[in-house]
Symmetry: D2
Subunit: 262 residues, 4 copies
């Protein structure tokens, strides 16, 4: 008869076995990041109260993940939409990025990300980047309808000292989420709490970039379960976008994630 092992973590289906939580390496990660200022009041509607927005900024992180250890070296693409925040609870203060939504091109990392760490991952076709000389162009679509396009043109590589500084800053990124699991068969939550999910980055090279972000709103027939999310984000103004391209690796610290109080 099946018994849960006391030192294991499980995901559905749970009754075939689990494993201890672990840290996992992503051997090759290419990112196009675009940050832009937006309307802080409008933005605050989507950020839970325990997080203070430190700057009215949206951080779009478009990533090609390759050599993913827990996926036997396979890969997937994602685009994260984050907000820089400060978490404060009693004496504790943490600075990091709150994940408003993350689109991923593969169901498997979506499941663990949501259930183990509260990152609001949902599915979309996050295309491989188009490489056009110094430009890198990404687009995100659902069932044939593109709703986000990111376009970055590299303007200069970071010097060694700048790269070292970037590595120092991002050595451990505090990624915040909000894990919400509904009650079965009725309104309300079975679980609803903030989470902390540390990601450790190593950048081998980085480039400043001129960048643009274009959102296209979709209707219900094009994207019945996400149109409201795209509308909320796509209506926020895009001001003074700043781009950066990086190549490197990362370690996801599923083992060091935490439920936060609020």
């Amino acid at each position: 008869m099946f018994e849960f092992a006391s030192d294991n973590s499980y995901l559905m289906p749970a009754h075939f076995g689990g494993a201890p939580l672990s840290a996992w390496t992503y051997a090759e990660v290419t990112t196009v990041g675009v940050s832009y200022r937006t309307d802080g009041d409008a933005l605050s509607a989507y950020v839970p109260q325990c997080f203070e927005i430190t700057e009215p900024v949206l951080e779009i992180g478009y990533a090609l993940n390759r050599g993913v250890e827990w996926m036997a070296g396979a890969g997937y693409n994602l685009v994260a939409v984050n907000v820089p925040v400060r978490y404060r609870h009693e004496a504790q203060t943490l600075t990091g990025s709150f994940a408003l939504v993350v689109w991923e091109s593969n169901a498997t990392p979506i499941l663990g990300g949501r259930e183990q760490t509260g990152i609001p991952k949902i599915f979309a076709d996050v295309a491989d980047l188009q490489l056009l000389g110094d430009r890198m162009v990404g687009h995100v679509s659902f069932d044939g309808s593109t709703f986000l396009r990111v376009d970055a043109r590299k303007t200069g590589e970071l010097a060694a000292g700048e790269l070292a500084e970037l590595n120092q800053q991002q050595r451990q990124m505090n990624w915040f989420g909000w894990r919400y699991i509904p009650r079965v068969g009725g309104p309300g939550a079975a679980l609803s709490h903030p989470t902390l999910y540390p990601i450790e980055y190593t950048f081998n090279a980085a480039w400043r970039a001129e960048a643009t972000v274009d959102w296209t709103l979709l209707d219900w027939e094009q994207n019945p379960t996400q149109a409201h999310i795209i509308a909320a984000l796509g209506r926020l103004p895009v001001r003074e976008p700043v781009g950066m391209v990086t190549v490197g690796s990362q370690v996801i610290r599923v083992d060091a994630a935490k439920e936060l109080t609020w």
Copy 2:
């Protein structure tokens, strides 16, 4: 500032809004079902104690879902692996099918199925059925490696009276799951309980079928997160398989799902 509405249900990302739970129609559902006897002792290792196995049988249900109302009329394919069980708790007795695992070809229904109703859905490429005269052949693969093949040859259509009886029996199917959400950052569960998820079937036609089921075990490099599930199921003996093909519609009663005590 965001506030949860008291009559809504939410899924991550929660802070863009929710909606009341509802029942949803699947307008066109084609299924190939294959049931076979297996080793009851081995099978019981994967079935939680609150469920009593009524017959040592695996029910493979391969379904092409089309006209899915909540997906704006789009579709997806799935293969469910169920066991006939009786749930008993105090005075309550319910007869139905316990979902060991469900593979689906689309991430979106996987998320709600897991989080709202505890059905252990995971991703695989569940191919459209190959139609070869009276045969219908389905295969399920992950990243280019097939692990399940279902082959049914229709041998005779159900007469009107038989079809009416089938409709009477399956008018409301009690689908049981086990919702398991892990603790963040360590071993153990945040949620762990059985669930009941009623599905209402209407069959427009049905056929008896000669059927076979073939499991192929995969190694870690072929399917790093599911190989142990496929191995557990694929090692169970396949005895006296019996097939059935149906076309019809269904209503999924997300609104009538229940957390069960145990």
Copy 3:
């Protein structure tokens, strides 16, 4: 040593063997057809001179093909853009439809269609139809960018006599193409001639429909090899669209196709 058999037809790679040409059944075909009047002068730019346009009409045929015999019962989707024409050469007159372009969701039928019969098939994601009550909605995209949307609402089923008449008319459809194979390494053609490809339809049911067609032009970065085709078609006016939905089967007469003189 390899030798070509005198009664076989070959496709690349030719040196692994060929087979005689044959007729092939498509067991289950669902189509949404929309015909609309357009500008005949503009249209004539895309129709070779040996074909006389009988009506300044574009016929959009959106088809879900299932149970395709030569593909071992698998399926694929396509959307054909045809023009009603009369072919005349010396004493011979044939009435049928000239294929301006056909988008298909699967590479395999594209190859044979181009090389064996001169049908100008190219790749796109031709989605399964969304079923929304009486509506059937299809969309065609390339790499996440939709360029064609077809929307039909069934308004009434054809009576038995009407259906019989439809079957009589379409029993054998003359599908015309233009096979063009370029010279290697320079301008000009190695092969350039009209073709006739007979398709035999059997309709089990059909419905009149209110229908709309929407073209969206794409830029070079969205669809580098097809943007000019979409622009040419998308700029033609859409007047008085008339819809029809059918379910049935078809036989493709690859064995009865012909090179035409001009």
Copy 4:
């Protein structure tokens, strides 16, 4: 009315316009190559008579192509199966590789490759490489059934002098094909001749590798149009496989391709 421009090359559909042939850059190409000795007599059955096999060797080239200029910077994967040959006709002698078959993961390059240059490209899911430490693992599947697996473990990087030599050797590779276009509606060929398609490689780095190749034969229901090709190749013995991994770029000389006499 449409007229063909005398300096353009066209592909179907031809009547929307063409363009002069050109050379195109592939900005980022990662390859895993595995060469192995096999049975020369058996191999010769698949190589046309005008080519002399210089060594009884199969060269498997697994490539991830990114930054493909003519695809607006997008990418695709391929696996080529080549044989080293010498072409001789009258006074002319050319040394290069004859393409037995090339599987590609994208329909668009397949069409041009076949029709413009006679390379026998057909479709398969050529997976992105799995990166497992020093290992790179690729697999090629059709509709969920893997038929080729390539596994290479890097054992040492080429020194600068060795790399320079490799670049010198492969600066221009003579890729040979056989363009075969059938007659319409009957046996025999409309076009049947050898082709030469020059590819220019630049390697930025290269590694020696221990490598293995595994073929899995498929049946007709798994791969109805390619099973005979896989069987022919998969039955050839695999002896003394030698691996190499490279990263670099390439230029495809569609403009310099040639029809060869025989």
